[in-house]
């Protein structure tokens, strides 16, 4: 009986055992993945390993020789105060933006999933900023958030409120960048949530209503549990993306100001590698950031992965 269990490939385990070692069978499989494998090795895996190799050298792109220095770049990085400032800022921005974006996009998705008048129009309007480039968004938002001449402060003053130093106050600068980023990017997770919401069967809500559940109870006990895979996906991808924030502070705060209040790891990496051409140190920054992202991603998998999948 056990040998007749179906595998995901549609073969029986019995057939599988019989054929998987066959050279022709294996060759066919490899040929199927070969086009992707070539591109993946050339443009993803190869550069990743090459970056690590570069990080072990005092690699100056214009120099004739690149001396091997072992882990010296990593030791210097651990002693480098700017790295820790940049990492702290990147972590702050990434978590703040990802949390706000994950929650805000879910709320908006639930609103535009409801049968309201003009629903498609709102979906369009909320998604529209996603198509902007970071440069366009950055310039627009830096003008809107300008302390002296910005339209947001204009309205605040008009309402009798004091102007806010959005991008000029070191305590506000990252929340302001985060706010701008949420406005720019929440449309994408909203679409993912919409797809998830429309996959929840109506009969679950009908049953809940028959049982006397109110709106909050249906959200709490039906929508959120069934949306957990989408929420997890959105949060993980948002966190990975926002760890690598570059364009917003580069454009909106002149590369990380005031002082180094919005200086991020990727700005540091960019300047080190592409302005001063210290490729070895730049590669070490890149590898270290990748490890940090991997660490936080694994933590998320541990936390969210423990939840059992609800089947319906």
């Amino acid at each position: 009986m056990a040998t007749e269990l179906s595998t995901t490939q549609g073969h029986t385990a019995h057939q599988h055992r019989r054929t998987w070692r066959t050279p022709m069978y294996t060759l066919t499989n490899y040929l199927f993945i070969l086009p992707f494998l070539i591109l993946f090795v050339t443009f993803v895996a190869g550069p990743i390993f090459y970056s690590f190799w570069i990080s072990l050298h005092d690699w100056k792109i214009l120099a004739r020789e690149q001396p091997f220095i072992g882990l010296a770049n990593y030791i210097n990085l651990m002693r480098d105060g700017i790295w820790w400032i940049a990492l702290r800022n990147s972590l702050y921005f990434a978590f703040l933006t990802s949390i706000i974006n994950t929650i805000f996009a879910l709320v908006v998705a639930m609103l535009v999933n409801a049968p309201i008048r003009g629903r498609d129009f709102f979906r369009f309007v909320f998604y529209a900023p996603v198509v902007l480039s970071v440069a366009a968004m950055g310039i627009i938002m830096s003008w809107m958030m300008n302390t002296q001449f910005g339209i947001i402060n204009y309205f605040l003053v008009w309402l009798g409120l004091p102007p806010v130093r959005w991008l000029a106050d070191p305590n506000l600068v990252i929340p302001s960048l985060s706010l701008a980023t949420v406005w720019w990017g929440f449309g994408f997770p909203m679409v993912i949530y919409l797809a998830g919401l429309q996959g929840i069967p109506d009969h679950l809500y009908e049953a809940a209503r028959i049982d006397g559940a109110n709106t909050w109870q249906t959200i709490r006990h039906i929508t959120i549990p069934l949306m957990m895979p989408s929420i997890f996906f959105v949060f993980v991808t948002q966190l990975i993306a926002h760890f690598q924030v570059f364009g917003q502070p580069y454009i909106m705060t002149g590369g990380g100001g005031p002082g180094r209040s919005s200086y991020t790891v990727i700005i540091y990496l960019y300047q080190t590698a592409w302005r001063y051409f210290l490729m070895g140190y730049g590669a070490a920054i890149a590898v270290a950031l990748a490890l940090v992202i991997l660490f936080f991603t694994l933590i998320q998998f541990r936390i969210f992965g423990r939840r059992s999948v609800i089947e319906y």
């Binding site: 792109i61 214009l62 480098d80 105060g81 700017i82 498609d120 979906r123 369009f124 998604y127 529209a128 996603v130 198509v131 480039s133 440069a135 300008n146 302390t147 002296q148 001449f149 130093r165 959005w166 991008l167 000029a168 106050d169 070191p170 679409v191 919409l194 797809a195 429309q198 590369g255 990380g256 100001g257 005031p258 002082g259 180094r260 209040s261 200086y263 300047q271 592409w274 302005r275 001063y276 051409f277």
Partner: protein
């Protein structure tokens, strides 16, 4: 589900359409109207201020020998540069020039990348202090043969000696200079009159400067700084500003006898002289309340709006001041410390060492022509590097270039050209100055951190 799919497809189509209509990111914006046409626009609407737009990319001439010329002149001086190039192509119809202008920060990155990848522009503009950084990597050509002491067309005796000296490194002479630009003090004459100050007399010392700044600073109730009842939280008009922190701070620290390094590999930003200089500007912001914290404060627009009395700014401010109809006056950067010094720099034109043949010959002609157009270049406010050209300037047309140019020759000082100068500025002292002037760090702490960062860079840059 079907509606959802339709909606997603619709959004995708809209996104693709928008993307298709926009130029690709790497492509420069469309060519704007030639600079020569800008005055006509002013004539058409004489009552409206008509800021002169700097074309990001400009084509000049239609000759078969085509040169690519990169620079970072995105300010209003870029318009004058394009005008000069157009004049060249009119006189040299066999040559066409594509002038590409980009902000200095982006420009350095792009230029280095192009030099490394072996596809550099045919001519490019840099500053004299960047010579060791670029020449040390072998991407600048020795241009001694452009000068008449090596058989070239540019007369050595007609260039200010300090400029020529700044171009020399290890026996080679890199580039041909256009100007000596630098740091001065611009002010609004209307605000001077309103504050009871003489609009024809500049504050020349620290005491005069602070006194004038107090009179020019006004709160929402019309009270001046220092008057009883003055509210520093409701300031509507500022006396002055730190402006670009690098030249303001360097000029002041040099005046007190300090510098960012001892030029022997040691950072010296914790010296008393540097502390005095930084403390002076810090006090103007947080003790005197006559200058704003720099973050989020747009000095040029505030000057244009008539809400800033005195602005430490470069000689390149002229076109902006005229375009915005500021009733401006200009004078040398005041003597705040013990010695009167101000920061200067020079725009220098270079060719890559790989340039050869027809293009090299055409580039030589263009460079020679541009250096002879110092008087035209001075209309943008930049004093020429050539002695004869500077002496030919007349006050009716070149007042700011004469006032500032004279001060640059008398009290100007070039920054120390270190091979890692850009890193020293970007990652060494500038973020720390910014932290101090925005009150994120004390003067002592900020300078100690700046010193440590600069020392680290100097140690690693060997």
């Amino acid at each position: 589900m079907k509606r959802m799919r339709l909606w997603v497809v619709g959004m995708l189509i809209v996104a693709l359409l928008i993307g298709a209509c926009a130029p690709p990111p790497s492509q420069p914006p469309a060519v704007e109207a030639p600079a020569a046409e800008a005055p006509a626009a002013e004539e058409a609407a004489p009552t409206e201020p008509t800021p002169t737009a700097t074309p990001i990319v400009a084509e000049a001439g239609a000759g078969a020998t085509r040169l690519i010329y990169w620079n970072g002149l995105t300010g209003s001086d870029g318009v004058t540069m394009v005008e000069m190039v157009q004049k060249f192509t009119e006189e040299n119809p066999d040559v066409s020039v594509r002038v590409e202008m980009m902000p200095w920060g982006t420009y350095f990155d792009k230029l280095l990348t192009s030099l490394v990848s072996g596809s550099p522009p045919d001519l490019f503009l840099l500053h004299e202090f960047e010579i060791p950084q670029f020449a040390g990597q072998g991407v600048l050509a020795d241009m001694s043969d452009y000068y008449d002491d090596h058989g070239g067309p540019v007369p050595v005796s007609d260039i200010y000696p300090q400029v020529l000296k700044a171009l020399e490194l290890d026996g080679a002479r890199y580039g041909v200079p256009l100007d000596i630009h630098g740091w001065g003090l611009w002010y609004n004459k209307d605000l001077f009159v309103e504050a009871g100050l003489d609009p024809e007399t500049c504050p020349a010392t620290a005491e005069e400067f602070v006194a004038a700044a107090r009179k020019l600073t006004k709160d929402a109730n019309g009270k001046r700084a220092g008057e009883e009842g003055f509210d520093p939280t409701q300031i509507e008009q500022w006396g002055t500003a730190v402006s670009w922190q690098k030249p303001t701070t360097l000029s002041t620290m040099w005046q007190f006898g300090g510098d960012w390094s001892d030029r022997a590999g040691n950072a010296t930003l914790t010296s008393d002289a540097v502390k005095k200089a930084v403390q002076f500007w810090y006090d103007l912001i947080y003790v005197e309340h006559v200058a704003p914290p720099p973050a989020g404060f747009d000095t040029w627009q505030t000057m244009a709006a008539g809400r800033l009395g005195m602005l430490p700014e470069g000689s390149w401010f002229l076109n902006f001041a005229n375009d915005n109809e500021i009733n401006w006056g200009v004078c040398p950067f005041p003597k705040i410390g013990d010695e009167h010094v101000t920061w200067i720099s020079s725009h220098v034109i270079y060719t890559p060492p790989t340039l050869a043949g027809e293009k090299l010959e055409a580039a030589k002609r263009l460079i020679s022509f541009l250096t002879e157009q110092g008087a035209l270049w001075a209309t943008s406010g930049q004093p020429p590097a050539r002695i004869s050209q500077f002496e030919s300037l007349t006050p009716d047309r070149y007042l700011s270039a004469i006032v500032l140019g004279t001060s640059f020759q008398e009290i100007g000082r070039y920054d120390f050209a270190h091979p890692c100068i850009q890193q020293v500025i970007d990652q060494g002292y500038m973020p720390e100055f910014d932290a101090i002037y925005n009150n994120l760090k004390t003067v002592e702490q900020g300078l100690a951190d700046a010193n440590a960062r600069v020392q680290d860079i100097l140690d690693r840059c060997r």
